[in-house]
C-alpha cells in the first residue's frame, strides 16, 4: 500500500502491521492524536491482545453472577436485593518507579472501578510481591508501597482488610502491586458503561486534567530496561481527598435516575472511557476538548486525550438533568463540565479550537484491536520429590522457628497496622487470619474475602499452580465459615512474546478455569499485567486470585486462634507429606525443586463443604487452612493468634507411617486444622461426608509440643514471628 511509505518513525508502540490496519480503518494516515488513541486502545493493557484468546476459556457464569467480566467490575448477587461488586487491578510499573504514588493511585483506580458501578466500597485488599530482602531497593519499595496503600485507603475511609506478601529475587526489578476493592450495591441500582441513546450530554466530573501519566497504559505494556528511572514524567499523584468527594458525589447522583452510563477514567483516560461508552452503546461521541477542565495551559488534544490524571469520571446523562447533577458536584466542590454529546455517527469526533482533531470510527477501533495467538510451549514437567529426598532437621522445632521467622511466613502486622482496617465499623474478622470478614452494613450477613497465589508452584507447574491459587483463596474464605461466590484474578506474567512465558499463562489460565468450575466459583472480573521483566528476566508467574464469599450470619464466623485448652484438634483432609516445592524444602536445601502438591478438586470441595457445615452448626471453636509450611506452621499460627497473656498451645500426638518431618511440613492441599469441644460431632459429620478427619491432639496451655520437636513456648514462636519485618524495615 502506498501510504505505508510515509509510515512515521514513531509508531508509539504499535507494530507495522497494526499501523497498516489503522490506514485501512481510516482510509488515510492518522494524525498524531489519532495515532495516540489507537496506540493506547491497542496496547496490551487496554486490548488484552495476548491473553484474550485464553481469558475466553474461563468460566464466567453462574446463577449468582449478575455481571461477569467486561464491565468495570464483576457483580454477584448476595440475596436480599443486594450485590457485591469487586475487582483486582495491578499497578506494578508505576509502583516500581514511585512506590508511594504508584501504589496510592493503584488503590484509587480500583476504588473508582467499583464505585462507578454504583457500589459503596466496603473493603480493600492488596497482593504484593517484592524482590529479595537483601536487594538494595526492596526496603524502600516495601515502605513506600505500604505507606501509599495506607495513605489512600485510610484517607478515603475504606478499610484495608487483607492481602498477601511474597519476597523473591525475580521481583527485584519489577515488583507487583495488585489492589482489590469490594463494594456493595442494590441489585436494582447497578450502573453500566453503555452510552445508549443519541443527543445525550456527555459530562466530565472530578479533578482537572493535567499532563499526568501520559502513555501509562503503554508503559504497563513494555518491558523495563535499567533506564526505567528515566520514565519518570508518567508518574501520577493521587488525591484521596478528591476521590472521597467524587465517591460521595457519584453515589448521591446515582440515587437519582439521571445517569444513563458512567465510566471512570483509568488507564488511557478520556480516550478509553469515551471509546468504551460509545462502543458499548453503539453510538458516536463528539467531544469539545475546549471544555475539558484543565490544570495546565497549552495542552494539546493528544495530551488531553491521553492524560491519566486521577480522580475523574465520564458520564452520559439523561437530557435535561445537567443542572441537577451540576448542583451535586458543586456541593462537593468538584469540577463538572458538559464536554460533548452522543450521536448516531458511530464515530469518535474531537473538536478543539473549532478544528477537528480526530475522527475515528468507533466499532473498528474496538473490534479490530489486535488479538494474537502467540506461540507457547508448555512448562516442562517437574519430577516428584519424595519425602526422604529432603533431609530432616536435627530438631524439627528449630526448623519451625526458622520458618515462622522467615520473610515468607513472618507476621505481616507491620503492614496491616498501617492500614485502617476498622473504619466503617463492620470489620468482624480483621487482618491476620485466613479471610477477612466484613459485615454488610445494617444486616447480620457478611462478606469474606482473601487473595492468594503461590508463585513457586505456578512456576513449577502452571496448571497445578493455577488450580492451587483458586483452591487456596476458596479455602481461606471457607475457613471463616463463608460460602465462596466468585473470584477476580490478576494475571501477572513476563513477556508474552516468549513462548515459555506464554506457556505459563496458558497453563495457569487452564488451571484457574478448572478450579473455578469444580468449585462453582466463576471468574467475574480481572486484570492482566504482562511484560513484567527486567533485562530479559521474567518474574515468577503470579496469577493472583481474589475470592469473595457470603455468610448469612456473621456471628457464626470462626477465627484461627486457639480459644481454650482442652479442645480436640483435627486435621480435615489427607496428609501425605508432600515436600516438593515446599518452604521446608527451601529452608533445608536452599531451593524449591520438584513438582508442587497436586490439587484434587473433588476432595478440595468436599473437605471445604464439610468445614463450612461444621462452622454453621457451631461445632468448631477455631479453623485455619493449611498452606505454606504445612501443619506445623498452621498449628503455630493458631497458637500465636491466641490471646496474649493466656497463650494456648497444643500437644500433638500422631503415629504416621510417613516421615515425621514430611507430616509436619508437607504442603498437601485441601486441608484445614480445626478445634472442637465436641469431637464426636466432627467424626460423625466427616464419616457421613466421606471426608478424612484425623484427631491429632489437644490444645494446652502456653506450649506447642510437636512430634520430633522440642516443646516451644507460644511466646517464643510469637516473638520470632513478629520480629522479622519490623526489624528488617528498621534496619534501613
Amino acid at each position: 500500500m502506498s501510504i505505508t511509505a510515509s509510515r512515521p518513525q514513531d509508531l508509539m508502540g504499535l507494530s507495522a502491521d497494526e499501523y497498516d490496519t489503522i490506514l485501512e480503518i481510516l482510509g488515510r494516515a492518522p494524525n498524531v492524536t489519532e495515532l495516540g488513541i489507537f496506540s493506547v486502545m491497542w496496547s496490551e493493557h487496554c486490548s488484552y491482545k495476548s491473553s484474550k484468546k485464553w481469558l475466553k476459556t474461563l468460566p464466567t457464569e453462574g446463577p449468582q453472577v449478575i455481571q461477569g467480566p467486561g464491565e468495570n467490575a464483576g457483580v454477584v448477587d448476595i440475596g436480599d436485593g443486594q450485590a457485591v461488586i469487586f475487582k483486582i487491578e495491578s499497578h506494578n510499573h508505576p509502583s516500581f518507579i514511585e512506590p508511594y504514588q504508584g501504589a496510592a493511585t493503584g488503590v484509587g483506580g480500583i476504588l473508582r472501578d467499583v464505585f462507578t458501578m454504583g457500589a459503596r466500597p466496603v473493603a480493600n485488599l492488596n497482593a504484593l510481591r517484592f524482590g529479595s530482602p537483601d536487594h538494595p531497593k526492596t526496603r524502600h519499595l516495601v515502605g513506600g508501597v505500604v505507606a501509599g496503600i495506607g495513605g489512600y485507603g485510610n484517607c478515603i475511609g475504606v478499610p484495608t482488610v487483607g492481602g498477601e506478601v511474597n519476597f523473591d529475587p525475580s521481583y527485584n526489578g519489577n515488583i507487583l502491586v495488585n489492589a482489590m476493592t469490594v463494594g456493595i450495591a442494590s441489585t436494582d441500582k447497578i450502573f453500566y458503561s453503555a452510552a445508549a441513546g443519541v443527543d445525550l450530554p456527555v459530562v466530565y466530573v472530578g479533578s482537572k486534567t493535567g499532563r499526568d501519566g501520559i502513555h501509562g497504559a503503554t508503559m504497563a505494556s513494555a518491558e523495563f530496561a535499567d533506564d526505567s528511572d528515566e520514565k519518570r514524567p508518567t508518574v501520577q499523584v493521587g488525591d484521596p481527598f478528591t476521590e472521597k468527594l467524587l465517591l460521595e458525589a457519584c453515589l448521591e447522583l446515582m440515587a437519582t435516575d439521571a445517569i444513563v452510563a458512567i465510566q471512570d477514567m483509568g488507564a488511557a483516560g478520556l480516550t478509553s472511557s469515551s471509546v468504551e461508552m460509545a462502543s458499548k452503546g453503539d453510538v458516536g461521541i463528539e467531544l469539545d476538548l475546549d471544555r475539558v477542565p484543565r490544570r495546565e495551559s497549552g495542552m494539546t488534544a493528544y495530551e488531553i486525550m491521553l492524560s491519566e490524571s486521577q480522580e475523574r469520571m465520564l458520564m452520559v446523562l439523561q437530557p435535561g438533568r445537567e443542572d441537577e447533577a451540576r448542583r451535586i458536584f458543586a456541593k462537593w466542590e468538584l469540577d463538572f463540565a458538559v464536554i460533548g454529546t452522543t450521536n448516531a455517527s458511530g464515530r469518535l469526533t474531537l473538536i478543539e479550537g473549532g478544528n477537528e482533531e480526530a475522527n475515528i470510527p468507533v466499532a473498528p477501533l474496538v473490534a479490530a484491536a489486535p488479538e494474537y495467538d502467540r506461540p507457547w510451549t508448555p512448562a516442562p514437567p517437574c519430577a516428584v520429590v519424595n519425602a526422604d529426598e529432603v533431609p530432616a532437621a536435627d530438631d524439627l522445632g528449630d526448623a519451625l522457628i526458622s520458618l515462622v521467622g522467615s520473610p515468607e511466613l513472618c507476621s505481616r502486622r507491620w503492614i496491616w497496622e498501617q492500614y485502617d482496617h476498622m473504619v466503617m465499623g463492620d470489620t468482624v474478622v480483621r487482618p491476620g487470619g485466613d479471610a477477612a470478614l466484613v459485615r454488610v452494613h445494617g444486616t447480620g450477613k457478611g462478606l469474606a474475602m482473601a487473595t492468594d497465589c503461590t508463585p513457586r508452584y505456578v512456576e513449577a507447574n502452571p496448571i497445578e499452580g493455577g488450580r492451587q491459587a483458586v483452591a487456596e483463596a476458596w479455602r481461606n474464605v471457607t475457613a471463616v465459615g463463608a460460602t465462596p461466590l466468585a473470584v477476580t484474578n490478576n494475571l501477572n506474567f513476563g513477556n508474552p512474546e516468549r513462548p515459555e512465558i506464554m506457556g505459563q499463562l496458558v497453563g495457569a489460565v487452564q488451571g484457574i478455569g478448572e478450579a473455578c468450575t469444580a468449585l462453582d466459583c466463576p471468574v467475574v472480573s480481572g486484570n492482566v499485567s504482562l511484560y513484567n521483566e527486567t533485562n530479559g528476566k521474567a518474574i515468577l508467574p503470579t496469577p493472583v486470585i481474589g475470592c469473595v464469599g457470603v455468610m448469612s450470619d456473621v456471628a457464626k464466623a470462626v477465627t484461627l486462634d486457639f480459644k481454650a485448652a482442652g479442645d480436640t484438634i483435627f486435621v480435615i483432609g489427607e496428609t501425605l507429606g508432600w515436600l516438593g516445592c515446599s518452604l521446608y524444602q527451601r529452608q533445608i536445601t536452599g531451593d524449591t525443586t520438584g513438582a508442587p502438591p497436586p490439587v484434587d478438586l473433588a476432595s478440595e470441595r468436599k473437605n471445604g463443604d464439610l468445614v463450612r457445615h461444621l462452622i454453621a452448626d457451631g461445632v468448631l471453636t477455631a479453623c485455619h487452612d493449611v498452606s505454606d509450611g504445612g501443619l506445623a506452621v498452621a498449628l503455630a499460627e493458631m497458637a500465636m493468634a491466641s490471646e496474649i497473656g493466656t497463650d494456648i498451645g497444643a500437644t500433638i500426638n500422631v503415629s504416621t507411617d510417613i516421615p515425621t518431618h514430611s507430616w509436619l511440613f508437607g504442603e498437601d492441599q485441601g486441608r484445614y486444622v480445626v478445634t472442637t469441644a465436641a469431637p464426636e460431632a466432627v467424626v460423625d459429620a466427616a464419616a457421613t461426608a466421606g471426608v478424612a478427619a484425623h484427631a491429632i491432639g489437644v490444645t494446652t496451655v502456653s506450649t506447642l509440643t510437636l512430634p520430633g520437636a522440642r516443646p516451644i513456648s507460644v511466646a517464643e514462636i510469637r516473638a520470632t514471628h513478629e520480629h522479622w519485618l519490623p526489624d528488617y524495615m528498621a534496619a534501613g
Binding site: N154, K244, Q418, M424, V428, G645
Partner: protein
C-alpha cells in the same frame, strides 16, 4: 434531646459514630454539614474522625475554620458537651477549644490497632460509666496523634485534672512502651477546663459492639445518653 454529628468533606467516621450514638440513645443523631452556620437543637455535639479536607496542611486545620465550627465554639463556650474523636480532636485543638497540638506520630507511620487506656477522670459526663484507673481497650487509627504542649500547659492540665485518658499497658501502668505515638505524658484524651469538651485520639465508637471485638467504648455513649436524657 438528640445529638448532632458534624460532617466535613473527608469525614469518614461520621456514620460509625452515628451508629454508636443511635445504639445508646435510641435515636439517630442529626448530621450537620460543614457549610451550615447553625446547629439544630442538641445536647451533645460530636466531631467525628476522618480526614477532613484530606488533612492537608495540618490535620484539622481547615475544618477548624469552616462555618459550622464557629457555632460549635459558641455552643462549647455556653456549656454544650462536645466530643472530638481522632480527627475531631485535631479539629478541636486547631480551633483552640482544647490546648496543645497533635503532631505526626513519633514512628512517622499511620497506626491502627487496639490500645489500652487508663481512665483518669470519672466525674465527667463522658467518663461516668467507667471506674477511675479502669483499663479500657479501644482502637486507634491515626497518623497525627502525637499530643504535644508546652511544660506550663501540661502542668495546668495535670493540676486541673484535665487529662481524661492515658495510654497504658494491660495492667494500667503508664509506660513508654505503651505509648503508640509519642504523646507527651502518654496523653490519649484531654478535657477543657470546664470539663464539657473532650478530645481523644482513640475511637470508642469502634469497640462498642461485641461482634466487632469488644464493648469498652459503649459505656462512653451510654453515659452520654443518660446525661443528655436527664
Amino acid at each position: 434531646m438528640p445529638a448532632a454529628v458534624i460532617v466535613f468533606p473527608g469525614s469518614n467516621c461520621d456514620r460509625d459514630v452515628a451508629v454508636a450514638l443511635e445504639a445508646a440513645t435510641g435515636r439517630p443523631p442529626a448530621m450537620v454539614w460543614h457549610q451550615e452556620s447553625s446547629l439544630p437543637q442538641c445536647d451533645l455535639i460530636v466531631v467525628p474522625g476522618g480526614f477532613s479536607y484530606g488533612d492537608y496542611l495540618r490535620s484539622g486545620a481547615m475544618a477548624a475554620h469552616s462555618p459550622i465550627l464557629r457555632t460549635v465554639i459558641d455552643r462549647a463556650h455556653a456549656g454544650t458537651p462536645v466530643l472530638g474523636i481522632c480527627n475531631g480532636f485535631q479539629i478541636l485543638a486547631e480551633a483552640r477549644l482544647l490546648p496543645g497540638v497533635l503532631m505526626r506520630n513519633a514512628s512517622l507511620k499511620f497506626v491502627c490497632r487496639d490500645v489500652d487506656l487508663r481512665v483518669e477522670r470519672t466525674d465527667t459526663i463522658f467518663t461516668s460509666g467507667y471506674a477511675t484507673g479502669q483499663v479500657l481497650r479501644v482502637p486507634i487509627a491515626h497518623h497525627d496523634g502525637n499530643y504535644f504542649t508546652d511544660a506550663e500547659t501540661l502542668q495546668r492540665l495535670e493540676d486541673g485534672g484535665q487529662i481524661a485518658f492515658r495510654y497504658c499497658d494491660s495492667d494500667g501502668n503508664v509506660t513508654a512502651d505503651a505509648n503508640p505515638n509519642g504523646s507527651i505524658a502518654n496523653i490519649a484524651g484531654i478535657l477543657n477546663a470546664q470539663g464539657n469538651v473532650l478530645g481523644m485520639m482513640p475511637h470508642p465508637e469502634r469497640l462498642a459492639e461485641a461482634l466487632l471485638g469488644g464493648t469498652d467504648g459503649a459505656a462512653m455513649f451510654g453515659a452520654l445518653a443518660e446525661a443528655i436524657a436527664a
